[in-house]
Symmetry: C3
Subunit: 357 residues, 3 copies
């Protein structure tokens, strides 16, 4: 495999290398403007995500390559029921690297194993979105100078936000990381993140519900959206929603070198007035996302042994996760992997990584 | 600002310059085939308009640049509610110039003020569509040799057609222009065009309802479509619709050097039989549109002080125009400008230019 | 005309030439990577077909050209009712060659006659899809070494499958071709293929219903999908559907050098297990499709007298085929051609080729 499915497929050294390439691209774009001449990226978006797609396409074009694009499911063969496997095999005849977004968890994994060219996961349902996390990490690196000794506040929907889980995962690998997890009770991080990441790696963290109280402690504030539909109790939603909106007023107690991140799109969880504050980094983050995608494409097209790690698999019954790709893909064997997690042997679906019960 | 929002943002000198560039491109395309090497155009279409989008994309490609594209709203983040402001800021990280089409009036204005790259209005609701007018103007220039001393017939829906209002505006700046406005009573030009443009600038015009009678007088005939849904009285529609269809027969009394224009797409308001008449210029108009878009992209990417004109703004209540972008965009201050119009001080919405009541 | 509407517009010599170009492209891609520099392909897809579109776009990009794209009808002016004629005329101002896909039969013919640049039929309803047949033919040529003396099994829906009819047409021109037509009774080839092609050219063929029995005889097996909606009797469908699914077991009696083709997308008519069998050629077919599209684009852009053959036409009443483009296109004269077919003078619609009754 020479693909990127999850950000933790990358070692910290590989991540460092990607960051360094991205920074060099930022400083000397002319050195890279011909690196992918004659190469093609296919953007296969089985659900629309314009920003992510355009970021990938801009990245490839700035490397001198070109793009073929399936911009959204309504304009695709998906209606005719073509499998991810067949699509990935066929598009491998047309492109040198594939970026795939799909509503089903594990779809990028299936594509990576069927394709004969490298595959980048541009989001597979609620599962992973590694290039967003690469954008987050480069932004932290550029704004704070290092990944070490940072107190990172993460605010909003910590239960369902896949970018939040990936960021916790990725930053837990660095010395001195501390998290302050700011959310309503109902939307705290799931147990598997708490146990398998934070507890396992002995990362200090606090769970609080008040953004303003946490503010003065933070080096990084990662904002996310709270979706109305996540709440069972609408009174609770109405009572809480404003307390998780970042305003100029709430920033008054923040450090002067705080870095405010947001994966975008925002709805109203950060006031537009904050945009002009020098601590607002979310538009820089969009630029950093493009730079990291450039570094990643270069890496994947240049190397033949990137992310190589065959897994031992065990056949098993149908995956219980309704969002798993195994539920819709033709003749896909249900396979599982096992590993030690928090002192316990855990069996997980090979595709979506849901725990087998 | 280095953007093009309305055709009247251009002085007659700037317009002349664009026409001259376009004509030079037509004659020596090879001189321009590398001018935008390494540059990217983003086409952000929040509503579909294939012809306009393809024209912009062809223009950029013929200049040696490349394109990233959001081809229609169904394939966009718009579903997730991202604001025009955020989209424009983010896409500024991916592209060197943006062409935006949006159903809301003033949306291109908002994009131009949020973007860090030049923005071209590719149509903002019923408000403006300046590159269509640039296509119209170059066609008049090429076919008639000059913008002066022309009798211009405009036929069809003169009430709602934004291209009609822009053309009247643009041509009213030239010596000897005379308009013959051909439409059913119900679909005559709106008062603000009559008063603020024609009367203010003392342009001779006639309002008539009979296309055939007007025909022999015309140097230019600009046809537009009459949409059934514009009529309140269906009997009236049935009675009138055929009289505004241009046929070979109706052309028999026309001048031999008449230039027939149409912004396209047509439905049936010009018979296909007319296409082979040498006076039919509407397909040339499509070519001219591409040439003017090339000239415009060159101008916007080459200059830092194009269309520079900061406006004095006054805060005010919510704009009353239901189609205004202020009704949907997050935290957009309602701002107004004031100017003398026809001897009267008029306050207008900064975004959609609707008069404040 | 310098367009490709139907595969039989090509003589066997022209087909040979295209195959040779495609093979040379496969062997020496670097020799072709600049052949279309500065040229543009427009992909106008009035219905979505992602694979076909991406194949065309990849082909043009690998020739050094660029692409403008209308990826599917929802993102098009089609909603506004623009005719094929107008679209083809306008897009001729933007591109050097057009690939059009449209749900109406004869639409590509209309486009070819209105456009001022070459047009490639990328599928016009149930009528023709010549570049699919070009992919099929190159695959047969590469896998079998020659077009002569082959026993070709075609399995599945032989009644409605346009790729099946084209393949029979094309292969009937070669010495020693024999067909074994494998389908349920209800889905046998239509009479006009039987009479006008097979009988007329004295091609030996058998019609059978059992795939397994036919298997040992075949040099080529062309699989197609049987769509549930083609059956009037659902019991019949349930009883038959599995017998037309190709599995590893059914391949046990096949020749060791059998070539298995499928136009894709498949649903489940070939088991995924077959993909790894060296006789499975359907993914190679996708690659061959791109190569033939490259050869075709080169041919159409390089020559001014390709497929030149004006037809004598006769005016007539409205075409009776409900799927014909004449039913929807503005002011399209209903025209017919006549020719000898099987000893009988037959009059056919110029556009969709349906027989006039």
């Amino acid at each position: 495999m020479r693909s990127l499915l999850d950000v933790t497929d990358l070692s910290t050294d590989e991540l460092e290398e990607l960051c360094n390439t991205a920074l060099d691209v930022a400083e000397h774009p002319e050195r890279y403007s011909d690196k992918c001449r004659g190469k093609k990226l296919a953007t296969l978006f089985f659900e629309p995500s314009t920003r992510t797609r355009l970021s990938f396409e801009a990245a490839m074009l700035e490397l001198g390559g070109s793009v073929i694009s399936m911009p959204g499911v309504s304009a695709s063969s998906a209606a005719k029921g073509e499998s991810v496997h067949d699509t990935a095999r066929v598009v491998s005849c047309y492109a040198d690297v594939i970026a795939i977004r799909h509503p089903k968890e594990g779809a990028a994994f299936v594509a990576a194993h069927s394709a004969t060219v490298p595959v980048i996961n541009a989001g597979d349902g609620g599962h992973c979105h590694p290039t967003q996390t690469l954008a987050d990490l480069l932004t932290i690196k550029r704004e704070k100078g290092s990944f070490e000794n940072l107190t990172i506040g993460i605010c909003g929907d910590l239960k369902y936000g896949r970018t939040v889980h990936s960021l916790i995962n990725a930053m837990s690998r660095y010395k001195g990381t501390k998290f302050i997890l700011i959310s309503p009770e109902e939307l705290r991080i799931p147990d598997y993140v708490r146990k398998n990441v934070l507890d396992e790696l002995h990362i200090p963290y606090e769970e609080v519900s008040d953004l303003e109280k946490a503010m003065p402690l933070l080096d990084v504030l990662y904002m996310t959206r709270i979706q109305r539909e996540r709440f069972t109790d609408m009174d609770e939603f109405e009572r809480l929603k404003d307390s998780y909106i970042l305003t100029i007023e709430k920033l008054s107690s923040a450090k002067s070198d705080l870095a405010i991140l947001h994966p975008l799109p925002r709805v109203n969880e950060i006031s537009v007035k904050v945009d002009d504050d020098p601590r607002a980094c979310y538009f820089k983050q969009a630029l950093n996302g493009k730079l990291m995608r450039m570094a990643l494409i270069l890496k994947l097209l240049g190397s033949r042994d990137f992310c190589e790690e065959p897994k031992v698999t065990i056949p098993g019954p149908t995956c219980k996760n309704h969002a798993c790709i195994t539920g819709v893909e033709q003749e896909l064997d249900c396979l599982y992997t096992e590993r030690e997690e928090n002192g316990r042997r855990v069996r997980r679906c090979l595709y979506c990584e849901a725990e087998a019960l």
